[in-house]
Symmetry: none
Subunit: 244 residues, 2 copies
DNA sequence: GCCTATGACTTGTATCTACAAGTTGTTGAC
DNA sequence: GTCAACAACTTGTAGATACAAGTCATAGGC
């Protein structure tokens, strides 16, 4: 089986929503209609709908047809992983200057976080990210080899790495972010254009696949006069976005 | 049907993981074992496992048993509202020294956040929070009158304010946290026992009822060598906990 | 007119079966 | 000893059926 049926169905329905053939607020076709249309049993149809529900594209409840939801609601995860996407969201122009890309043995702590042997080389990337031309964040990322290899042939200043990786089928599914405050060291200060010792918001991030395999470790340092992190949560749900 | 079988199974397995009966790295029982144990068919078992996978508690892949992942994730809502509850969670002894409790007109920005008139008095509380006797966080909280009144008669150094408020029926339902980094001012430095200008992690929090009415505004400043904030998120869910 | 009851339709849950696809340990040839 | 093939597992996918539970429009009673 090349691509599973439920995956194909989800892709088809996702396309109808994104293309606008199914507009926001429209009810989805009923499960039995979809079964007839695709000549499938109910299982794959329900699995596809569950996927879309998980992505936040549709809602609904028992006895009621699923409806197409406002698709920006499904953005939080992406906006937290992708600086470019986030900048678009808050209406600022993203920019980036790659300082360095290298293949080398990572720091032992990073190697441990990524479940790599101490002497396995990994792809390390240092980028300065800009908002409207102003230095906003300094990003030091380490990718596991399987992901990192794809980055060596790309123009890193062209667009979103995250979008590129997803396009190539990378399964970036879960992330753990640890936030604290540190003083800018000499290199931070020079690149971010702040005095040495200025307080920076540090985000250390470990991103993993849906099977729990670590894929990426990053140490991102924000000029806190330019960027903050906001988390909204209720008793049942939580979401976070960066803000300018 | 009272509670669906797959929901009950997910709860049971979640409990085994949280309690440590299934430790991090352990393989889950196979689907057929779970079927036998619970006298269920494979459907509900797979549905429960999918739920846990979605929550980031387990990983795995085809042909391979699911394994318990490293997850300090998704603790209850209270843990990031209540300093005391959080300290308990990470096995540290919480402490507190109330610096000031006052009824006064709040700062215009705070009044606006709480939807109060500029001349409505609110209850303001400044507390230094300790972990194992070490200053960890400085908390400047403003409560709306309806909540704040209850605090004037209480021994604030005795226990958790939140436990007390919840017990009295306060409907603390949703919160928005904004995180950034600032330099310690003179008062911060004195109370937290750090040099003036030291980087602090600042959390500004607005807590609201389930109907969206603002109840509390707080400016909490953490010594980042003592406390950090961790957010775990998957495509569908996110949770935030403090960590030591 | 207003309300309730009913029935048709929807999604949710659960069972059983069957096979595909991936992993792992073991056996056997070399 | 090493390696390949196999067998015995595992999970992933897909089909069929049945019933429970929720929604909604409509017919009928008041």
């Amino acid at each position: 089986m090349e691509t599973p049926l439920h995956t194909a169905l989800a892709a088809e329905l996702r396309g109808r929503i994104r293309s606008g053939r199914l507009a926001v607020g429209d009810p989805m076709p009923s499960e039995s209609e979809l079964c007839r249309e695709f000549g499938s049993s109910r299982g794959p149809v329900r699995q596809a709908l569950a996927t879309l529900r998980d992505e936040g594209l549709i809602g609904g409840g028992q006895g009621r047809r699923a409806v197409v939801l406002d698709s920006v609601a499904s953005q939080p995860f992406e906006t937290f992983l992708s600086f470019s996407r986030w900048a678009q969201l808050i209406g600022r122009a993203p920019g980036q200057r790659t300082q360095e890309i290298a293949v080398r043995r990572p720091d032992p702590a990073v190697a441990a976080a990524l479940h790599l042997d101490a002497d396995t080389p990994a792809v390390q990337l240092v980028r300065l990210r800009l908002l409207d031309g102003v230095p906003a964040m300094l990003e030091r990322t380490t990718f596991v080899p399987s992901i990192g290899r794809a980055l060596l042939d790309v123009d890193l200043d062209a667009g979103s790495i995250y979008a590129y990786l997803i396009e190539r089928g990378a399964d970036l599914h879960a992330a753990r972010h640890t936030l604290d405050a540190i003083a800018a060291d000499t290199e931070d200060a020079r690149l971010l254009d702040v005095p040495e010792g200025a307080p920076l918001l540090r985000e250390r991030r470990l991103t993993a696949s849906s099977t729990g395999v670590p894929l990426e470790w990053s140490d991102d340092r924000y000029r806190s006069d330019v960027a903050t992190v906001t988390i909204t949560n209720t008793r049942s749900r939580a979401a976070m976005v960066r803000s300018g």
